[in-house]
């Protein structure tokens, strides 16, 4: 897919980093305010999809550095992995665990890890579909 629109490419240059940041913001605040892994994953997938429209799939792959399929795998691993900490506490699987980080006043938790897993899976799945569609198009052309 090629695009020649100046407006889109300029807008993308500014929007993509903003959108990625925004997605992280949505991800982290998700537990208390509207947001969360699923929504944030969609936002960031949108950002990369836009990047791909402007710069082509190779550029997006380079920007992403990892294969989107690996994102899926890693996300699933985090999702499943977050089930285990409860185990050390002798509780049922997937029982949420909370840890306070001293000094920073941050709250770390297994739901957060789980949410990051969801985020990565959504990102990976959407991008796998989008990038593959474009690449197959290109191969045929």
């Amino acid at each position: 897919m090629k695009t020649g629109t100046l407006i889109l490419s300029v807008a993308a240059q500014m929007l993509v980093p903003l959108q990625i940041l925004f997605s992280l913001f949505l991800l982290l605040r998700g537990h208390d305010e509207p947001g969360g892994g699923f929504i944030a994953g969609l936002v960031v997938a949108g950002a990369f999809a836009m990047h791909q429209f402007v710069n082509g799939p190779e550029a997006t792959r380079r920007l992403l550095r990892v294969d989107p399929r690996d994102c899926i795998g890693f996300g699933l691993l985090l999702g499943v992995g977050s089930a285990f900490p409860a185990w050390w506490q002798g509780e049922a699987f997937l029982t949420a665990q909370w840890w306070e980080v001293p000094m920073l006043g941050l709250k770390l938790s297994t739901p957060l890890i789980f949410d990051i897993g969801v985020y990565l899976v959504v990102l990976g799945s959407v991008l796998t579909a989008v990038i593959t569609l474009t690449e197959v198009d290109k191969d045929e052309a």
């Binding site: 089930a83 709250k107 796998t128």
Partner: protein
Amino acid sequence: MQIAVLSGFVLAILVPLISRWCGSRTGLILALYPAAIAFWLVSLMPEVLQSGGIYFEQAWAPSLGLSLSFWLDGLSLLFGLLISGIGTLIIIYASGYLHGHPQLARFYVLILSFMSSMLGVVMADGLMTLFVFWELTSITSYMLIGFNHEDAAARKSALQGLLVTFTGGLALMSGLIMLNVAGGSWSLQTLLNDGDALREHALYLPMLLCLLGGAFTKSAQFPFHFWLPNAMAAPTPVSAYLHSATMVKAGIYLMARLQPGLGGTETWMTILCIVGAITMVVGAFLAIRFSGIKKVLAYSTVMALGTLTMLLGIGGEAAMIAFVTFLAAHSLYKGALFMVAGALDHETGTKDIDEMGGLRRAMPVTALCAFVAAMSLGGVIPLFGFVAKELMFEAVLDAPRYTGFLIGMSLLASVLVVAAAGIVALRPFFGALKATPKDPHEAPLSMLAGPCVLAGLSLVLGFMPWLAGDGLLNAAASAVMGTEVATDLYLWHGINTALMMSMFSLCVGLLVCWRWSGVRGAIHRFSPILDRGPEAVYWKLMDLLVRVAEWQTRLLQSGYMRNYLILTLLTFVGLTGYTLLVRHGPVFDLELDVRLQEVVVAFVTAASAIMACMMRSRLAAVATAGVMGFGIALIFLLFSAPDLAITQLLIETLTVILLILVLFRMPRFSSFSTPMERVRDMFVAVSTGVLMTLLILTVLGQDLFTSISEYMIENSEPLGHGHNIVNVILVDFRALDTLGEIFVLSLAAIGVLAMLRLQAKEKKAS
């Protein structure tokens, strides 16, 4: 205990790293894991012997009454020791046998996962824990048998093993569920303590048949025995491990485990005795039919598995002690023999006994190990196998039922097994030296350690059977029996009937071995009949499966989206509509309490939906459908569900992106359907819409269930530490559901990938 079992999986994950760092020493390092397990089990032995067992439980899904629970008693201990002990030797052996194999790391990953699964099976207490580990052994053994995946025969055999054991796995699952229904518990320990209730339950027969179906397929009992010899396509360390000591014994373990709960009835005795005896003879008979050394060993394993089943069927103290002794003896000598077979194959380049001869000079240590192990297999005094065989004959002589039949069968089987032992141990090493594809020389130390230790143990335990007997074997027999068993094991029982039977089988067996070519020629004439065995039925079934699959795919999978949609929607309308009308009737009160903005948004949404159907350009259709989506998002926002609204907006955006990508691939937009089809489509669409409307009105009108929103709202902050209730539900309260959903999402992405890539490849190829 859970750490011991599960750490194998963690170690398996780390194998690629370890093998990168340690190179060829990886095998020795990994062998430390099973060795540690073995030591740990030995250290627990006094406690287990004293208290009768150690229990461990970890809540899994308490709301379903499921837990991850383990139970270590005498039987588990015996199996655990065999698995970890032989496992240690196998890993060391494999590091020699597969030395320099490009995928050695993959082998270690699989064998460690398999080992852990196997330990899980024999220590599981929860029925579901047992089932999960059971299936894990099937999966990992599938990958191990098909380790040489570039070889079509290996793939075929692996799939055969998988299908047979998975079919059995399904039966096992039904059996376990029935066990739970009948006994009212998920814990084996609780269930087995109340055996009478199980035996008198109405579900006893179906439950027993299902459980035995699982055990028989796993343990290659007649008529499912054919997969085991075929599984010899695996590398020899795999055969030595899976098909001597572990995987195939899982079924035996299951039957032994269930014996106190389900055993002792007429049905149990009949099925186990008959099937076991037939398997025993069939296995022994087929063993001398082939000249591939691994095939001979595989069929003699089938014979041993049949013997074990038969002993379980006979029941009683003598049979139980014979069972555990035979089990231990068999694991020792069969492991050794398989490793010897691997060494022969590795050093001479052939697996065919006919091509080997006179190797005793070139491979003296291997020859000695083979000789000792084979004597144990044949039941020659003073090996451990002799002790086991004496006990087996004594148990058979005392059998309460079918005594004559069992005596005849076991005598016949042991004659044939002596012959098989002679074939394996004498033929390759004695006689004139024959030219083999490779110049034969002694195997490396790593490959000799295993057979030497196992053959040595067979010898030591033969002279001093009480070493194993007093503690371990008696405890294991007690666990199978359900009551305390204390029998002293001796090498010499005096001159009695059992000894006579032993001597008779030895003499006739050696005669058969001597005249092997003649015997094989005679058997060969019956090949056409023998080839029509159960395996032929298996292939017929496979053909049938493919044909039925083809037929139903043609019938159901038209490949047209519209047909799928119509079918799905009409089914939904039909079933739900019927339930709605019959159960509730269209009762609802229409309260028009709406605000102006809601009406406007609803109108826009509905209008754009109608517009989307009437558009003449595809892009416009996509755009109007998008408007409809945004309208829905607005409605969510109006009813203060910001998370839903955001999600809806984002999904709409992504849908547009995806649609635009797909649009280029579609044929030109034009009218494909006839007016009649349009009327049909309209009917489907309208009826679905009407039904949904009715459904929602009904749900709103009646309070069918107490709402759970209150609970969620109240507990979101105290239990989930979050103010955003939707998110707390997603990642905490209902995290298991979300976990399932992200797996579905991943599968969908992989599906898209596979579909697109495959199509692109096909196009390129054509």
